[in-house]
């Protein structure tokens, strides 16, 4: 297991460099000039432009820019945004908010998704199952922003249970509604995955044998059906952590949250290479670590999977 974990951590190195290089390259080749984008209608004097270009290394060749950036990155200097704030400062304010939002969403989709999927799988063909399928299909097919606006209108405006927008500090309780919106699509997928997996496992030979031992039905379901059904769900959750961070752009937009999604979106529009790349680099690391965690969880759930090799 240690050997495996070590190997996976080593694999992160090429992934890190590959991802940052690609992103840097893409931002570099975006059309438009970042400085004129920054100043808008009234372009500054050529001298000012040249000074800014030199300050941000924009006058150097692409590869040199990238290497200078990476060098700074490892010294803990993530550069500054074009508006003068340091990127690390922006990160420190944006990441905790998004992390809270993602964690809440993850808890909702995993908790409710597995529960609803389990019940639907046990009552296949009954009313609960049919409604769960219809609702999940709706959530998958309707775009997130529609779900977002509807919930915002119903709970925020009509019922007044929640704030329609989130304050700057974004405390946990204000994030509940956005988290529900963010979780909605994944919730639907988890319901369907769990349901299919549970109904498959219900027909497994070992479940019949367990019943023949004289164990109660609830125990057969929790001990012999549920645990076996979780492996595909865990896989999905691992991949989903990535989309929770990225997909948050829409949700953060609706509820006016100053999280990672919104910041990256703004940075891309402005062509702020260092900001985009730094954020993406951190996201890549989180994504890779999350998937490593999922793979280790696999082994815990299914003893046939061992990573000795």
């Amino acid at each position: 297991m240690l050997w495996y974990t070590g190997k996976r951590l080593l694999q992160m190195i090429p992934v890190f460099f590959g991802a940052t290089f690609l992103i840097y390259f893409m931002v570099f080749s975006l059309p438009g000039d970042p400085i004129s984008a920054l100043y808008g209608e009234r372009p500054p004097s050529p001298a000012v432009i040249a000074q800014i270009r030199a300050e941000y290394n924009l006058d150097k060749p692409f590869v040199v820019q990238y290497l200078l950036y990476i060098g700074n990155f490892f010294q803990g200097n993530l550069g500054t945004t074009y508006s003068g704030r340091s990127v690390s400062e922006v990160m420190a304010s944006a990441f905790p908010i998004t992390a809270r939002l993602a964690m809440l969403a993850l808890a909702f989709e995993a908790g409710f998704g597995i529960l609803v999927g389990l019940i639907a799988g046990l009552r296949k063909g009954k009313l609960f199952d049919a409604s769960a399928l219809v609702v999940s299909l709706l959530l998958i097919s309707v775009p997130t922003f529609v779900v977002g606006f509807v919930l915002q209108f119903v709970f925020g405006v009509q019922l007044g249970w929640a704030r329609t927008t989130v304050s700057g500090a974004a405390p946990w309780d204000q994030l509940i509604l956005p988290a529900l919106v963010l979780a909605s699509v994944s919730f639907a997928y988890i319901v369907r995955l769990t349901r299919a997996s549970v109904s498959d496992n219900l027909n497994a030979d070992f479940v019949r044998t367990a019943t023949a031992k004289g164990i109660s039905r609830p125990r057969v379901v929790t001990v012999h059906v549920l645990r076996n059904s979780l492996v595909p769900v865990i896989t999905f959750l691992g991949v989903d952590i990535g989309s929770l961070m990225v997909g948050a752009i829409v949700t953060e937009g609706i509820f006016n949250i100053n999280g990672v999604g919104g910041t990256v979106f703004k940075a891309i529009r402005l062509g702020e290479g260092p900001t985009v790349v730094s954020f993406i680099a951190v996201m890549v690391v989180i994504f890779v670590l999350a998937n490593l965690l999922v793979d280790l969880l696999y082994a815990a759930l299914d003893p046939r999977i061992r990573y000795a090799k």
């Binding site: 050997w3 030979d205 019943t211 004289g214 039905r217 046939r304």
Partner: protein
Amino acid sequence: MTQLVNETVNQSPSTDSAPLLEIRDLEVGFRTQRGIVPAVRGVSLTLYPGQTLAIVGESGSGKTTTAQAIINLLAGTGTVTGGQILFQGRDLTRLTPKEMQAVRGSQIGYVPQDPMSNLNPVWNIGFQVAEAIRSNSDVRGKVLKQRTIEVLQEAGLADAADRLKQYPHQFSGGMRQRVLIGIGLSARPKLLIADEPTSALDVTVQRQILDHLATLTRDYGTSVLFITHDLGLAAERAEQLVVMYKGKVVESGPSQEILANPQHPYTQRLVAAAPSLASRRIQAKKNQDAPTTEIFSAGGTDTALIRRATDRELAASGKALISVEGITKKYRIRKSGLRYDELLAVNDVSFGVEKGTTTAIVGESGSGKSTVAKLILQLESTTSGRIEFDGRDVAGLTGRELLNFRRRVQPVFQDPYGSLDPQYNVGNTIAEPLLAHKVGSRKERQKRVLELLDQVSLPATTQFRYPSELSGGQRQRIAIARALALKPDVLVLDEAVSALDVLVQGQILNLLTELQSELGLTYLFITHDLAVVRLVADNVCVMQKGRIVEAAPTDEVFEKPRELYTQELLGAIPGANFEFGR
């Protein structure tokens, strides 16, 4: 074994004691969109305390459904639609789920068919056994662990204490079946339902496990309801037989009587076809010391098999068509890190196959027999040694010559479900080798397909059907027809009849020997089942752990087996204790 059976017979109680289990007119159906499809139609049987009763039938006969109905474990939409299941006078079909839960495990134990799929892969063995004990008693904590170890040791796992924390995938099939038997008997139930408990295992392991099960149930005074498709096995293991066919009981009574004097035509066919019994009969006939062997209407098939064997003996040229000299196959198995282990799958194996004869390679799983088949078919390359076909070394064959070799040596594999393309109709499947080797025009190929279908006794209309519409036996006939398409000299039959029901097995074996004498084919027959060998083979090579431990003509192997291992294999054929001359 004879002694053991006799003991149980002596112990069997007189019929005036109350029956333990009495099934009356049981009807079970499966709910479908077109109404209820009956699977069990009016089955009645009676089992007394301490007795063993076997239900025999082929797949689809309703034997497993009957057994599962007893403890309400019917699959999917199955429901009891009529009749009674009286267990100690109580009708089990009327129990509430809670009451049924109390009966399961503690009153009626269950040993399922397939040891590979019947243990939950994600829980360790100790947990799964302890769970069974917990749910049927108040034993907890240290005592529970002690009891778990005891249960496993009784079931034949000597090192149980050290293996509690291991998972099912770390156990062999035989060991897993022992665990399942331990679970089934853990609460000392009055009745044990054993549903084909050893069908998935090697013959010698099957024998060990059934012997052990017999000892345990005798010691505990447990009645056993034994479900099997093998009549020989059933008769050997149970004093009472119930023969089921299409959801109905066609015959029941004491085993020896049914075997000696089958009344129903279906039972007669079963007795005639079951390879285990047929091999015993042929052995008896060959020995000649059994006065009358024609006690079954079955004699016809046996005589034909013996006659064909004699014909082959006379026709044998004495020249080897295939000759194998000292072949060895090593596999590299990756271990942790960059290290490799070497596995010697085939170790210095030599034998020859004469034209027009059948050579059987017998062994248990892992003995290397299938690897030998792959090496001869040139599907894998040998590590060392030499394989000659018709006087030429096959190792160096390439291009046209290899193609030519493949045309003359054709395989038939075990699984008739997996070896046919479900998207191809039968005609295309059979014509495919012709197409691949560019033989004949479209018309000629079509003609050849019909000819082949006729040879394997299938109607011409079969060519338009798809594998999913056919039974296992029909599919295996098609696989044989496909192998014969190119008019090969040699068929390599890798467990070609192992996946089939006994009746179908008998038919296919008969077909194979018929085709052999008609077409002058040479067979290399790979199997784990010595009973089948007796029916078709002229020479036998017994393999164990990659080596040939004994090679001799079939008669010699059956009459005077030299090696202990061969003797064990022979002893494992069910039906050893029947007297055919009676």
